[in-house]
Subunit: 312 residues, 2 copies
């Protein structure tokens, strides 16, 4: 199609159009990804994650500037937890990030997380491939880190930056539950605030400090004044060098491929299931019986699976 040609020619509007098609799960977007996929595998995929209020967007905004100073183009995909009803993305934060939008070397896309399978939307990987194929040497993925998100971003990204800030209460333990363990680089943002030293100390104690020959750096930043942001950029670049030199990069690419294939298999299976009219009819009746306590959920599911097998 003409769209692909324009994409290859570097037309930013073709890129934006393809991004929208992919985000929506449109078949044209899927077909484009099949064609473009062989161009991928070049970008450095950097995940930036941390709790709400950690200042992720502000930090990414500053980081974009620091990366642009080295002449490299940057793509950013911001994944928001979506409202179960509204589906709208939180606006305020995004806008700060969009300030950079006048620059042609920057592509920012904010997407609502519609994923049921963990924190990232199933189309996030597709968007990453698109920016990779478009020749962005750095692709940043921003996620709210909580629970399962950590796992996902750990599979998708080659370098995971985990943010923490002072003043999130006494629940610093929560960062121990998952996120910290996928972090290749730890950042204490808003480091000019009271309690920053304490957060630094706790992180130093809790983190493993070394993993497969990479010693996990701890970086202090104040995103608003861009303090520590160049150091963060250097550590991100250093981690890529380490991944290449150690052969760990190939492992991460394989992990990402596995996670993506399995997640797509799951969602395609589910789609096949919920579009099957016989199953659907049985499902509705079964749910009513479960709600009325006449049938147990376990029995109902076993019965539906038997039915599904008979159809196929």
């Amino acid at each position: 199609v003409g769209l692909i040609d324009r994409f290859h020619a570097g037309d930013p509007r073709a890129l934006a159009r393809l991004a929208s098609l992919i985000e929506r799960g449109d078949p044209v977007g899927e077909a484009a990804l099949d064609l473009l996929y062989e161009l991928t595998g070049q970008a450095h995929i950097v995940g930036i994650t941390g709790p709400p209020g950690a200042g992720k967007s502000t930090l990414i905004n500053a980081l974009i500037g620091a990366i642009r100073e080295t002449g490299r183009r940057v793509g950013v995909i911001a994944v928001d937890p979506s409202s179960p009803f509204g589906g709208g993305a939180v606006l305020g934060d995004r806008i700060r990030m969009m300030e950079r939008h006048g620059d042609d070397g920057v592509f920012v896309r904010s997407m609502a997380s519609r994923g049921r399978f963990g924190g990232l939307a199933p189309t996030t990987a597709g968007l990453v491939h698109l920016l990779d194929a478009a020749g962005f040497p750095v692709v940043i993925v921003e996620t709210i880190g909580a629970g399962q998100d950590g796992v996902d971003i750990g599979a998708l990204a080659q370098t995971v930056v985990v943010l923490q800030v002072p003043g999130l209460g006494d629940d610093i333990q929560t960062i121990k539950s998952g996120l910290l363990e996928v972090g290749d680089i730890l950042v204490v943002n808003k480091a000019d605030r009271l309690g920053a030293d304490e957060v630094m100390r706790s992180l130093r104690q809790m983190s493993n400090r070394e993993r497969h020959g990479w010693s996990i750096p701890l970086v202090r930043t104040v995103a608003r004044s861009e303090e520590g942001v160049v150091e963060l950029r250097c550590q991100i670049d250093a981690h890529l060098d380490y991944l290449r030199a150690s052969g760990e990069l190939a492992n991460r690419q394989r992990t990402a491929a596995r996670a993506e294939v399995l997640s797509r298999l799951r969602s395609d299976l589910e789609r096949r299931l919920t579009l099957n009219p016989t199953v659907l009819a049985g499902l509705d009746h079964a749910i009513g019986e479960v709600a009325a306590r006449r049938l147990a959920p376990g029995g109902v599911v076993r019965d539906l699976l038997v039915r599904l097998e008979r159809i196929e």
Copy 2:
């Protein structure tokens, strides 16, 4: 089995044993649930959710006391986001809640969230059914509210209490993204802190204040000194009265049944898939090709699905 008989006789050790079996996904636990399910549908299932640091456990601890004062027994299931590697649950907070553990009218179980499908572990619903069948008139489910969690707790619980606190930074927008919209009761905890009035005001502005004839109350609490906790208990009870009177309770039970059946269907399908040896062999090869950029993920998944169909 004797275990079920002892459970029916009210033996707390039989309850604890069944809870462990169900949490582990043990077939004996599953079989027990099939048998006990017809006894369920009696408990008031209350979800309590809010960001890390909101003081959920402390508030629940106080709420247990307030409910016990009315002579009712209470079951509590605390769901933690688990580490992708360690799998351990955060301890500190739990211990505070366990203080009540000497009381026979209280059953507390802390589980690691091992769910891939959103924030709640797939076995959470099973534990709720068990406590329901054991005759606990109130079952409280505690979750860290973030992203998809809100959706899940909204489906599982009949009454959702959403906590907010002053001092979580300027990101109060984040509560707008999902959680607030599933809240039947909003609580500003740590209300003796600076900024509490502001949080109250923002919540009042952002929330819908009314839904299907229920006007969403806004409660101020200081969990540590038990301030506002009796009011919270009254509002929780009032919401159940509303659900019954309006017929909304049946809707919520149907929603819960649907969510549980669909989630189990999904996980059983996935298990069937990943245990199939032909698929497994094909999968491993395919992932290598995707990682090497020789095949696109979309094509690989389509191919695997065709294979799967041929086998069945």
